[in-house]
């Protein structure tokens, strides 16, 4: 799937990837790749700047720390990030339920 298609949902997916706990940039990309069964292979040039943008907006906090013997910039959700994630999740569920209902062949309304 192209990065352009995903753009509107990138923030929500990045926030979701941090829901279980702090992660560094490469681990976030891995998580998106594995979590989407390889569907979403987001380019590095998209993910890292997006994390910086979310940090500036106060949704994630990035700190340098020693992980696995190397210094890494680790991101974690802020309380504001948790709230935005919940909002995005709710909006997506409403939207996807509506699209599923309309696209599924069985659910087509009978025209008079």
């Amino acid at each position: 799937m192209s990065a352009e298609t995903l753009k509107g949902h990138l923030d929500g997916m990045l926030l979701a990837s941090l829901e279980d706990g702090p992660r560094h940039g490469y681990a976030i990309m891995e998580m998106l790749r594995v979590g989407s069964s390889g569907q979403f292979n987001l380019p590095t040039g998209t993910v890292y700047p997006a994390l910086r943008r979310l940090e500036r907006a106060g949704l994630v906090r990035g700190t340098w720390s020693e992980v696995g013997g190397r210094r890494r910039r680790v991101y974690e959700l802020t309380p504001g990030g948790h709230r935005v994630l919940e909002t995005e999740r709710g909006a997506w569920q409403t939207f996807s339920a509506a699209v599923t209902a309309l696209l599924s062949p069985a659910a087509k309304p009978v025209s008079p």
Binding site: Y26, P43, T44, G45, P49, R53, A57, G58, W64, R73
Partner: protein, 231 residues
């Protein structure tokens, strides 16, 4: 790992060369990319590739250096804009206070009336004060707007880094005009009644204004060039 790390150094050098903006922000970005690249190299290495091909594969995965750098341009522009705006907001009241002190020490009768009606006001007051006031008003509003557009309120504002760089540059130019207007006032006082001036407070205020003028000019130019990368 030498051949591999040379490849990575060269690649990150290319990325760094294509990043505009504050040095510290650039160093931080390159350090983060390096740590990500090393993660990728490790992943390819443990999948069976020897060090040098693993580094090549990791670099291929990250993609073209100039494209990676371009992805950071909006963030760096926002960073640059925010830096200038916060510097102006932080130093503005201090410089105002220094000039008020200098005016009082120079026996200029500051009172609640139009500045050119103050006792001993410089001859250029009628022109320079309104210019300074207008410039300061623009500076304050554009600087606060920039801070909002590049901080947390950005989530609710439909304003991107390009606009923020523009408003920050406007704030910088506004501060320059205000400082220049104050220097016009000072010059007119020097020509008309130099004996009234208190040298020490004037020198301190003038040094502060001159420093801000220089830094505001540099900051505004940097914001405009950061803005140009977002065309």
């Amino acid at each position: 790992m030498t051949a591999g790390s040379q490849l990575i150094d060269a690649y990150l050098g290319d990325v760094a060369a294509a990043l505009p903006g504050p040095a510290r922000a650039r160093t931080d970005i390159v350090a983060e990319l390096r740590s990500g690249l090393l993660d990728a190299v490790e992943a390819y290495h443990s999948a069976g590739l020897p060090p040098a091909p693993a580094a090549e594969a990791a670099i291929r995965e990250f993609g073209d250096a100039s494209r990676i750098a371009a992805g950071f341009h909006p963030e760096l522009a926002a960073h640059q804009a925010r830096r200038l705006a916060s510097a102006l907001v932080a130093t503005g009241p201090l410089i105002g206070l220094l000039w008020a002190t200098a005016a009082l020490a120079s026996h200029i009768g500051i009172r609640p009336a139009l500045p050119w009606q103050w006792a001993g006001a410089p001859p250029a007051s009628m022109v320079a004060f309104p210019v300074a006031a207008a410039a300061l008003l623009i500076t304050v509003w554009t600087a606060l707007f920039t801070l909002a557009a590049t901080g947390r309120p950005a989530r609710w504002l439909p304003i991107g880094p390009r606009m923020a760089a523009t408003t920050a540059a406007m704030a910088g130019f506004g501060a320059m005009v205000a400082d220049a207007a104050v220097f016009v006032l000072l010059a007119s006082q020097l020509f008309s009644a130099p004996s009234r001036l208190a040298p020490a407070p004037i020198a301190v205020a003038a040094a502060a204004s001159l420093t801000r003028l220089t830094l505001a000019r540099r900051g505004a130019r940097r914001c405009l060039s950061a803005r140009a990368t977002l065309a």
